[in-house]
Symmetry: C2
Subunit: 337 residues, 2 copies
DNA sequence: GCAAAAAGCAAAACCGGTTTTGCTTTTTGT
DNA sequence: ACAAAAAGCAAAACCGGTTTTGCTTTTTGC
């Protein structure tokens, strides 16, 4: 009775030890003793022995046989991020209720890497993929759609590709954000965003532009490097604020841009004089003086919707694609003097 | 030539199509055509066909056959946390260099859940586990040690159990932190920590106590609920600060306690009058006025050490256990007036 | 009391790979 | 020209499970 590397025995070894066949053991283990017409006595004997040796099934073998890996792939931009981290936590928690585990990866915005990750996950037979795509993943996504891999995109989608998708009302929420700044009396509002084609960023940008143009105001835009390789965004924003002293309010397009912006403002000692609003909530916003308002995405709701949509697709591969927009809330904090 | 669910073909199907045997195809795929003595011609024909149909191996079958899953389990307290999130990111990046993917889970401090997670990961045949244990995982850890699963603990260890471990110099760094507050002229320093037996927290606490006692000072301690279920830590800290108005400086034991503390201070309008230092760095610390100093753990170095230790163990199962302490740095920021 | 039905299980086929073995055929050496 | 060696590959065994099939033996019905 040789033990395997992991210390446990295989079903065949158990069978041999008890002088029964593999199938009998397997049926008992899976609670199919009844329908397999295994006698109470044999079943109990097998159960006892399994208990005694602490048998642990090899999930790889099981998955290979059943075609179910009980694993979902989660691909985000950066698991260490204050948006994706909590989302990942909640996705994991909801998936656990359905007895799935999560194989995760961060793309850091790298398209080549993202494609590789998808590839490896599919080879590992994940049953579905949850993906915040980088901006050039059309091919991979289309490929997955064609092979009917259950897939849910979130946060951003692929333009002109029909998929399951969960996101927020980027355009509307951003409009409200910019309008709020205007209502607060700020006159010359700038926006800092990233130099990426991600559609959700484009929507936020468009909202800013349209609000300003409808009000007959001039826009003042700064793009900072998304991949954070070329140059320091704090520097870039600092220079921009210096060069445009007329700006009295700023709309940041996302969490890490906002952090960079706040650092720049601190360097220039302008925390009190600039009106700020940002997409995505951050702990720091509540702690600043003055506090900073934001567009707050309901992370848990998003995670819940993502998982629900994936589970539905898993239950019915031919279910038509679904899009769910979870509204963000304008979190208004103490107005800056 | 029936396609499988995932759209790809199996090796047997390829073999059948080309009138060769499975083994031949397998050898060619794995670049073992030479040593398998497959003729150039056959090899090329197989390669061409594989290319043509875009063959994708089933990693489950491969892992079952080879005993290598190329997957590592990562178990942390909370992937959405500002400590564990970035650590997870870096761990993932380093593991990728060794062609491993990560199966992750957050325990949220729940021992039962943590044990289940370990169990499932082992069944899925992860090749190793990286674990920030909850405070009652002795059994699971000992079990893994006995069955020689490559294992690295980090952030906290299990008292009196010899394992691989990567952590920081909690005691020394905390001493420096408290001493720094004293040097800054704060007289009555309190500490807020969590009601958990985690050894790293105990070390931080002990450091605080010893520094104060050596200086003949009285300690002022507040334990907030770790599981964040019973009551709001912000309230608890607020009350504590009110009840102990003599406190002029506070040492927070970890990131989320600090956030709660800062919120309490803000409520009481005491950001200017309390000296604060905390374990773990946070974006917000740099942005506050006054800025807040902290003990900064080198997250990337920790991640690197963790992965390196795991890889070493994977390469030699009988390697003696190793402990690596990565020193934290006291990040001193602009002193509060 | 005897055929048909049900019980109880062993055996085999399968999932999709890897690796070892061993059978032809061709090449080499003398 | 003939044996030994090498080339080229098919076949089989294996990894650890699940599930279907089918062979005994016992039970039931009449």
């Amino acid at each position: 009775m040789l033990a395997r590397k992991n210390g446990s025995m295989s079903i065949s070894e158990i069978a041999k030890h008890l002088n029964v066949s593999k199938s009998t053991v397997s049926l008992v283990i899976n609670g199919k003793a009844e329908e397999g017409r295994i006698s109470k006595a044999s079943a109990q004997r097998i159960r006892d022995y399994i208990e005694e040796i602490g048998y642990k099934p090899n999930a790889l073998a099981k998955s290979l046989a059943t075609g179910k890996s009980r694993t979902i792939g989660l691909i985000v931009e950066n698991i260490g991020d204050s948006f994706f981290g909590p989302i990942a936590l909640h996705i994991e928690e909801y998936l656990r209720k359905h007895e799935y585990q999560v194989l995760y990866s961060s793309t850091m915005g790298d398209n080549t890497l993202a494609a590789e990750i998808v590839q490896t996950m599919l080879e590992k037979q994940v049953e579905g993929i949850i993906l915040a795509p980088t901006d050039a993943m059309r091919t991979e996504v289309e490929h997955m759609l064609k092979s009917k891999v259950p897939l849910v995109l979130f946060d951003r989608k692929i333009p002109n590709v029909q998929t399951n998708y969960v996101g927020t009302d980027n355009y509307e929420a951003s409009r409200q954000a910019v309008e709020h700044l205007l209502q607060q009396g700020y006159e010359r509002i700038g926006m800092v965003t990233i130099d990426s084609q991600q559609p959700q960023m484009q929507d936020r940008l468009r909202a800013y532009r349209e609000v300003l143009s409808e009000d007959g105001r001039e826009e003042q835009l700064l793009y900072v490097s998304f991949l954070a390789r070329s140059g320091d965004p704090v520097d870039a924003i600092t220079k921009w604020l210096k060069k445009n002293p007329q700006i009295d309010g700023v709309f940041f397009s996302t969490n890490y841009v906002c952090i960079a912006g706040l650092k720049a403002m601190r360097k220039l000692d302008r925390e009190q004089t600039l009106g700020v609003i940002t997409f995505d909530d951050l702990e720091v916003l509540e702690l600043m003086r003055p506090q900073i308002s934001c567009v707050r995405q309901p992370l848990e709701k998003i995670a819940k919707a993502v998982v629900q949509m994936l589970i539905e697709q898993l239950n019915d591969r031919d279910k038509p694609f679904n899009e769910k927009i979870i509204k963000s809330k304008l979190q208004i904090r103490e107005s800056s003097l």
